[in-house]
Symmetry: C2
Subunit: 495 residues, 2 copies
């Protein structure tokens, strides 16, 4: 049976990717410097093998034959996801993949120093090459899928999402967000916030992070918490590895970072066990993934109820401070301040950072602008959305992110889609569980986890994203819940 052969091939790929994933995690967390070349070569070798065995001609024969076979509903969903992955895998000639990987590595490597040096001219030269290759990639993918060029790239991260839809929700956002930011700032001016006094030892911060992970249901028998310079959630569903970084002056970032990654981790830890190894058992999309991390970080952890539960533990670990008063913590964790850096942005200004990148990268891939136009567009949009001036400050402007350096165009929308989905899930849960705030305040996340498990985690990729959203929440993606959430929390001082 061809379906069987296909699914065995994907099981094999799953085993190889397990090793790649652990090797990648180790590279970021454990590996000493001199191990890097050998590691990179080993990873490249096995990645190459994975590409070869997933694009081998027999695989397409099996796929064609499997489409004629009688399959269960679940097998059909798996076949749909297999087909999607194979279509993406075969779209590009190996020469382009290699050229991209080389240009991306070169651009990213140089960027690390160029960013420090604010060297836009040097960076632009490499970026042009990356953009050129990404445009080729986009054209090939567009040809194969019938999508627009940008949509063909975005489809890698957000299957089924189109820029028409993104434009719709971002268009809405663009209407009210700049005003909201202004109003919140005016309102928060009168707040007097007490800053926690450090130092906060790494050991204590780790203890607090692990306490939060435990509270949020992370399974420590199936995962770990470690340190890396760029926090991420990696590993494999059976063994999820999340990382954070510590700054002894402040524990706020590591705490919220750990909680954010715990959201990703719980999704991975609760994908359907019986299907692991098959494409249908993978997380639905980057936006849905981000909806889990942001659900945990924004919907739960920055709420008044959760912080009131956490406050005593913070005092227990670091010793009592006036700053650990629950209401003070809440004001700290919901402070809105327009800034230049996306990864430091608060919940309210974050979407502005995403919108401006989306507009630029879309125009860039569609060929409407060139690399040299980026700084002016960046400056104009930062002014428009956040009232900030970045003229000449490239390193805190268009050179701040890693995404474009290696050609990951089409990814940025996932962040804000995730924030919107998260608000929609929480709205839904509030309707179904009127006691939810009380439960959070008591540190009882059982029913919330149950809801997420049933509606998101166990669904994996059995449904398409629109189907998933419809089944979980009874309607399509509706950005009004996100607006309502921000207004409730930041204007009306609720939640």
């Amino acid at each position: 049976m061809s379906y069987q052969q296909l699914s065995e091939r994907f099981q094999q790929l799953h085993h190889y990717r397990h090793l790649l994933s652990i090797a990648g995690w180790d590279q970021a967390t454990m590996m000493p410097a001199k191990g890097n070349d050998a590691r990179a070569n080993a990873i490249a070798e096995l990645s190459g093998l994975c590409h070869r065995i997933s694009t081998a001609s027999e695989v397409y024969d099996w796929l064609n034959a499997a489409e004629q076979e009688t399959l269960t509903h679940e097998q059909q969903a798996n076949l749909r996801e297999i087909k999607r992955q194979l279509t993406h895998a075969q779209a590009l000639p190996e020469s382009l993949v290699l050229a991209q990987s080389k240009a991306g590595a070169k651009c990213e490597h140089a960027w690390r120093q160029q960013r420090i040096d604010n060297d836009w001219a040097g960076f632009a030269k490499n970026l042009k090459e990356v953009v050129q290759l990404s445009r080729e990639e986009a054209s090939l993918r567009a040809e194969q899928t019938g999508l627009s060029r940008y949509d063909a790239l975005m489809d890698l991260y957000e299957p089924g999402m189109r820029s028409a839809e993104v434009d719709r929700v971002f268009g809405d956002l663009r209407q009210w967000l700049p005003d909201l930011i202004q109003q919140v700032q005016t309102q928060q001016k009168s707040q007097v916030i007490t800053q926690p006094q450090g130092p906060f030892s790494i050991e204590q911060q780790k203890q607090l992070g692990q306490y939060a992970m435990q509270l949020l249901g992370f399974d420590f028998d199936a995962g770990r918490l470690d340190v890396s310079s760029h926090p991420f959630c990696g590993g494999v569903p059976e063994d999820v590895r999340l990382t954070t970084r510590y700054n002894t002056d402040s524990f706020a970032e590591s705490l919220m970072g750990v909680i954010h990654e715990t959201g990703h981790a719980r999704y991975e830890q609760n994908l359907p066990k019986n299907w692991l190894g098959q494409p249908v058992a993978e997380a639905r999309s980057m936006g849905i993934h981000e909806s889990q991390s942001l659900f945990f970080e924004m919907q739960i952890a920055r709420s008044r109820s959760f912080l009131s539960h956490l406050a005593p533990e913070i005092s227990r670990i670091f010793g009592a401070q006036a700053a650990f008063d629950p209401e003070n913590l809440y004001q700290l964790y919901t402070r809105v301040e327009p800034g230049l850096i996306r990864v430091d942005a608060d919940e309210v200004t974050y979407p502005a950072h995403v919108m401006l990148r989306y507009e630029i990268e879309q125009a860039l891939i569609e060929g409407q602008i060139e690399v040299e136009h980026i700084p002016d567009l960046w400056q104009a949009n930062m002014q428009r959305y956040l009232g900030l001036n970045t003229a000449g400050n490239y390193k805190d402007g268009c050179m701040q992110d890693i995404h474009w350096t290696d050609g990951s165009f089409g990814y940025f929308p996932s962040y804000t889609l995730g924030a919107m989905y998260a608000a929609q899930w929480f709205h839904c849960i509030q309707q179904q569980l009127p006691q939810v705030e009380n439960q959070i305040a008591q540190g009882d996340l059982g029913q919330i986890s149950q809801w997420l498990n049933q509606h998101i985690w166990q669904q994996a990729s059995f449904l398409t994203t629109p189907e998933l959203v419809q089944q979980a929440s009874g309607e399509a993606l509706n950005p009004s819940y996100f607006r309502q959430h921000l207004e409730n929390r930041y204007l009306h001082n609720l939640r």
Copy 2:
């Protein structure tokens, strides 16, 4: 050119084995319990691939063709080692490899509990199956190589070593070792040793271990120190991962354990960089490997000179104690006490543990005895060599080691061969560097490292073992240096 194709295939295998090695290290040091099944499956998948691509028919065609090609001296040595590995790889049908892996896993798994329960009858049942399959393996390998059955297994760990040679050196050992043990015990009776007073925190023990590693030249940019329940030296030559375990009642075991593994690690870290990935760049044999760990542990670290250098650092880390007097430390670290357990044995009684295992496993593989004869033979030999009674105590007798549970017959001699080589190296160095004890006492291991690097590490597998020993020391393996070392240290109170 066929040689080129062969060497590319081995380069590819090297990359895959890098990932297997890191995944194995992670499994022992980092992996949470629930990750084990997925990890085992992933490792099995890639191991299977490695076996397939190293026994594919084209490989043997390349090998035959390469033997007709004009090669450099070094390429010829590499081809010799390639041939050796391929010969070993193709000796066994896949069905036998699978049956062995299954029987070994079953026997080892059950042994963990059976050992605790002292359940010889239960263990013997599984062991019979393992022995049966190892005999089949030995017959096939013997047929292919023309060696005796036991020699064909030992050749996997000690290329070129034969039981005739082992019998020669062990025969010598058997003459004088039991007497020496008695004499040393009599002499040491009058010693009054002050025991260090714990607890010794893990953090402090780690600090001491890292200090010793640094002193012994371990490159921390190309390796790490971690914790595992069974200490080992793993990873890859570019990134050597060694492990230890800590007991807060005593730091002696972790310190000497770390130094032992550092010997393995320096060998790996200093294999010839330009040849990494090729069989000729691998360590020469398990015995030569053990000669490095035992050189560092026995020849250097348990010497009076080294301990006098280390004593101030021990006091600095743990605080001053009378027990940290250099002469007291020396007496502690050179105490001889016959015991039941091999891994706890001192330098003098250790070879007795090895000899008795060698005699039993050789007879077992050659079919001269059966599994049910093991306990009586064990009891007889323990009585003969160490004057100890193990009757009925299987768990501290013939059930104590992991080696036989998974069919690793032929490995034990490497331990004592290593101890003998180590003594031979040190003798040689003493001849060439009369100031060596002074250098050790000053913590200056530069010239010692240089000698090892030139004569052992950089030689990798370019020479056969007898050639290596001859070139390094000017003569063949000569067990009299080991005897001389033990008598000097333990009878004459030197070194």
